[in-house]
Amino acid sequence: MANATAVLGQDEHVEHLRKEHLMLDPKPRGEMNAMVMEAMHTTSWKFWVVFAILSVIVAVALFGAWGYMINTGLGLTGKNRPGYWSLFLVNTVFWVGISHAGTFVSALLRVFKAEFRRPFTRAAELMTTFGLVQAGIMIFSHMGRVWLAYWMFPFPTQRTIWPNFHSPLMWDFLAINTYLLASTMYLFLPLIPDVAMARDRSTGWRKIFYRTLSLGFRGTEGEWAHLRIAMNIFAFAILPVMFSVHTIVSWDFAAAMRPGWNSTIFGPYFVVGALHSGIAAVAMVMVVIRANMKNMKYFIRPEHFDALGKLMLVVSMGWAYFFFNDYMVQWYGGDEVTHWVLEWQEKGPAGTLWMLMLVVNIVIPWLTLWNKKIRRTPWAIFTIGLLINVGMWIERFIIIPVSLEINRFPFMWGQFKPGIEVPIFIGTLAFFILLYMGASRLIPLVPVWEVQEGQLAHSVRKFGKETVVTVSDLE
């Protein structure tokens, strides 16, 4: 390889750079391919134990409980008058938020040419697809007559009626479906060359599977040209879609004529909230992958957690800004009923949760993530990420069931007690992890061609007396 590291010899600083940065530590492509294939094939008995436990949880807590609820009625949940929406919608928003992680990493970071994204774009995109599957399950769970859900699908029928596009729920339908299709396509396009590589290195049923999936890809100039152009279009276009999806989800609440909900800042507030929980979730998934999959310690390094940690800190500040905007404006100039809602959130039965939300979403990240050592420690980032996700779940809990307990008629205030939503949510968590574990066995988790592309673009050179990293733009 025409790599400037060789020219400078075994300089200590260069050696440190090589250990630190994946992009400066190139291995022959064949070797990296073998590492990724090995990671995919190597499965310990512990994996299968966890897989089995999760499968049982999914069968019982998700499909079992859900089926029972569909058969018996939504009365099994904790919903009542006035709390018509509860944990199902909280979880829908939660999962849609997590799904923004993938798009953020693979699209936003690609657009800004942040090279550190390269090894984990696919891991993040998988989170998007699987997260949206869980969001879909939650949406269907919350419907009273889910067997008629297809009425929300716009198609001509002899019923002479179409869905109502005045409704924010219909915008949700369009937006979430667009996002699901778009991110699955965006997951698939960069996957094609890696699946072609897997095809070349597999036998048996795997070879048939990869051959079908790789569609006959060889890597000709034409194929790469079309793929590259398509990926650029996707990267730029999926960003407005990502912003629109969570904004539209926020409009389910903001467009309603409810005190505490009718806030104009919900759009950006929810988007930043989604990024907050999403990036934290990406960090968590990467810690788990790095710790448990073979050879991942080469691809995922402390530098990646460092970068993600910085992003988590910045987004936490953004979230605090939008939270305070929403709170301050309602506290200062809100009418009486809005103040009832604010007081209920802060000082009512959920007041401890409200305080906890602020602590884990703002205080903890601000106290820890400025420190480089903490950012580079995988288990620390995992813990902080987990706390952030708990905090963001609580945020949606405060916004939905807790706010619904208050309305303009004190005679109709009512408290919420969770019901069958809890096992169903645990079921979706298990399902998400299960799908992810399954995917890690079936497709290469690291986009090796993108990593190699990045490695070819990086080199070190002397700038005066200092050895610096140089990145070329190979597109």
Partner: protein, 248 residues
């Protein structure tokens, strides 16, 4: 500034001549006996949810009588009762948010309709109703014998997963309209009485055509103290309240 309209009324449901039904609640004579609640439940096949569910806020009455009071016990100065049912708003906030058009505005009666067989149960309408008058079928409720014999054949029996609410006893409105058409006359004032209006022993509820200036309802709404609930929301409810209260 005379001709300047602050609120654009053009999008409000068009007031057609066929019928603008409205209700007046006279809080001054309401005794809070809840005969209206019972009558409504009989007329509209409203299920019994059981003690536990009712305590948890899942009672399915389409009309509720709010018990309010002024002053601290034992110096309570006034105990107005406030019967509240669907206000059939002209600009109902529950209508645009239903994704499948299960709650729409009736062109002919100018009331808010709930189409049971179209509802898929997303419950957005219930969240958006500022009067919290909508109820949901959380289960398929059983009617213990012999109560299943008192079902009203004019009204659909709803299954689980469907929203419902006061319909101004639209089945009675239709029956009167049919009878009037058959006899070739207009409906006379007071002919249509929803179940609650019919049952009220104090005649606190009055129902009729708001577009008929001679009707009792229209005259009552012109009174000085007549007001609608949550007037500042601008959703044009069809139910007018005359304030007052017992123990005055």
């Amino acid at each position: 500034m005379d001709n300047f309209k602050v609120v654009d009324e053009t999008n409000a449901a068009e007031e057609k001549s066929q019928g603008l039904w409205g209700l007046v609640v006279n809080q001054d004579v309401c005794t809070g006996c809840q005969a209206c609640v019972t009558a409504c439940a009989m007329e509209n096949n409203i299920p019994w949810v059981g003690e536990d569910d009712a305590a948890y806020g899942r009672q399915m009455s389409w009309i509720r009588v709010e018990r309010l009071w002024e002053g601290e016990y034992p110096e309570v100065t006034s105990t107005p009762f406030q019967p509240i049912m669907c206000q059939h708003c002209g600009k109902a906030p529950c209508e645009p948010v239903c994704p499948v058009f299960a709650t729409v505005h009736s062109e002919s009666e100018q009331i808010n309709l709930q189409v049971y067989n179209r509802c898929v149960g997303t419950r957005y309408c219930a969240n958006n109703c500022p009067y919290v008058v909508r109820v949901f079928n959380w289960y398929d409720y059983e009617r213990p014998e012999p109560m299943n014999n008192q079902l009203n054949p004019d009204v659909t029996v709803r299954r689980r997963g469907v929203m419902e609410k006061c319909s101004f006893c639209v089945q009675r409105i239709h029956r009167a309209e049919d009878a009037a058409k058959a006899e070739g006359r207009e409906i006379y004032d007071g002919e249509v009485e929803p179940a609650c209006v019919q049952a009220c022993p104090a005649s606190a509820l009055v129902f009729g055509r708001l577009d008929d200036p001679a009707s009792k309802v229209s005259k009552l709404t012109k009174g000085d103290s007549a007001h609608t609930l949550l007037e500042n929301l601008g959703i044009k409810p069809r139910v007018t309240y005359l304030p007052g209260g017992s123990h005055g």
